[in-house]
Symmetry: C2
DNA sequence: TAAAGGATGTGGTCCAACCACATCAAGTAC
DNA sequence: GTACTTGATGTGGTTGGACCACATCCTTTA
């Protein structure tokens, strides 16, 4: 149900009714990935609400990574269903970090626990692992910091994907995205980027080797230390990040 | 950065500029939890945009669990900053489940891994654990299924809180919320609710006992089996849910 | 002094107008 | 018949105005 965060009053607001209608269309399969919603004006007429309310609902769905809007006519026009949970989760987390409600240290700790779990589960026959290896090659040859970091993001996401859980992959991406601006500041803090980059590369190789050796325990430990070490070196003291302590 | 999901065109849309402004206010501390945004009309004037664009931005922030809106005047009026990441994450996940992009089985598996991690980390001196115990008492005396399930939600959330990671707690809540409608159907599938409830209660007691005995490993195993068993009994075959396999 | 009415400021909803865009169809010229 | 130009069409994007309901506060009246 759509939370309107209104105290005392219970009735659904108009844009929420629209959201509800659209969600029902998705749940029932009437609307699917790649499919197109009715035009705003048409939908407003159908649902007997104003176009403004329809637009408000669509703004929400855009932020949730469920639709994208396109002007003009033709295949790119109108409101089309997409699948981008990472953007949605990332925006939500980022905003709650901005309000200081969710601590950055908790974001990092969560990322470590999820990624450790994922590498322990990575399937050696997954295409994502082949991609990870290719990305590692690119990183070896990469002198540019920003490009290196972009490849690093993709490397880690590929590792998450190899575990075959789409929710964990989406969350992994969102956690990293939520503290992207912090990451930039942290990189600037690093005393010796070249030494760090060399270390990161070596650690990536070790993680990948452990996965290929079917040694999930070692892979998990390595990835935890890898992430932990990066943030520590950059000056952020993450919470106790050993994912296997129990 | 706010994704507009528009292909080819790069400029920020007006409501996104408003979102950016508000996010900056939050990041800088000018706006904090419990604080009030300028009135819509005022903000529209300040930012030199139309009130409609301001409202669109606020709709997004509401869905992200960052603000709530109130009519009238007085302390409850206007747009106030709140902290409800669970609602935001839950809505996002729910929509992506609705599009079939995120499989329910992955949601359940993720919940198991997070909750196992949390109970292994639960601090025995956390007030949340005392609350969990109190909730358990209430569940013992509870004959009503819906009320039992509501208490069950709170019990599990209390366990998550005892680990002291706000991100994990928010995710835990959102994962459960995302498949709430499934849960209702699953409960209806159960062959013998009374037997199931009795089993759940017993398992809750064992989990709590393991936590108090500082036996995180056992607690994690128990909670995984507990959640796994529930969904299996109800007819959903979750993915391999052993959180400690590596 | 207490109650009623009006003012004020807030968000909620609707409407109309206009814009930019991306195609498609019809008309014209070669 | 083909290629180019122009206008039409349907799409989302933005603005501004009108009116409503609500929640208080202030002023007037009894």
């Amino acid at each position: 149900m759509w939370s309107n965060h209104i105290k005392y009053h219970w009735p659904m607001r108009t844009h929420q009714l629209v959201l509800q209608w659209i969600e029902n269309q998705l749940s029932s399969g009437e609307l699917a990935l790649g499919g197109r919603l009715p035009a705003e004006r048409t939908l407003a007429e159908q649902l007997q609400v104003s176009r403004t309310s329809v637009r408000e609902a669509i703004r929400v769905l855009e932020a949730m990574g469920v639709v994208r809007a396109g002007v003009g006519s033709g295949p790119e026009a109108g409101t089309v269903v997409i699948a981008d949970p990472t953007a949605a989760l990332g925006s939500a987390l980022r905003l709650h970090v901005a309000t200081s409600h969710l601590p950055v240290a908790d974001i990092v700790q969560t990322r470590i626990l999820l990624e450790s779990w994922a590498v322990a589960r990575a399937r050696t026959d997954s295409p994502a692992l082949a991609e990870a290896a290719a990305l590692l090659e690119k990183m070896e040859a990469c002198p540019d910091t920003d490009e290196f970091l972009a490849l690093d993001v993709r490397f880690h996401l590929a590792l998450a994907e190899a575990a075959g859980n789409a929710v964990v992959s989406a969350m992994m991406g969102s956690l990293r995205e939520a503290i992207q601006s912090y990451a930039g500041k942290l990189t600037a803090n690093l005393p010796d980027w070249d030494a760090t980059a060399a270390r990161l590369r070596a650690e990536h190789r070790e993680i990948l080797a452990a996965i290929h050796n079917h040694d999930g325990g070692t892979a998990a430990g390595l990835v935890a230390a890898h992430i932990d070490g990066y943030y520590k070196e950059a000056g952020l003291d993450p919470k106790d990040s050993d994912p296997t302590r129990h």
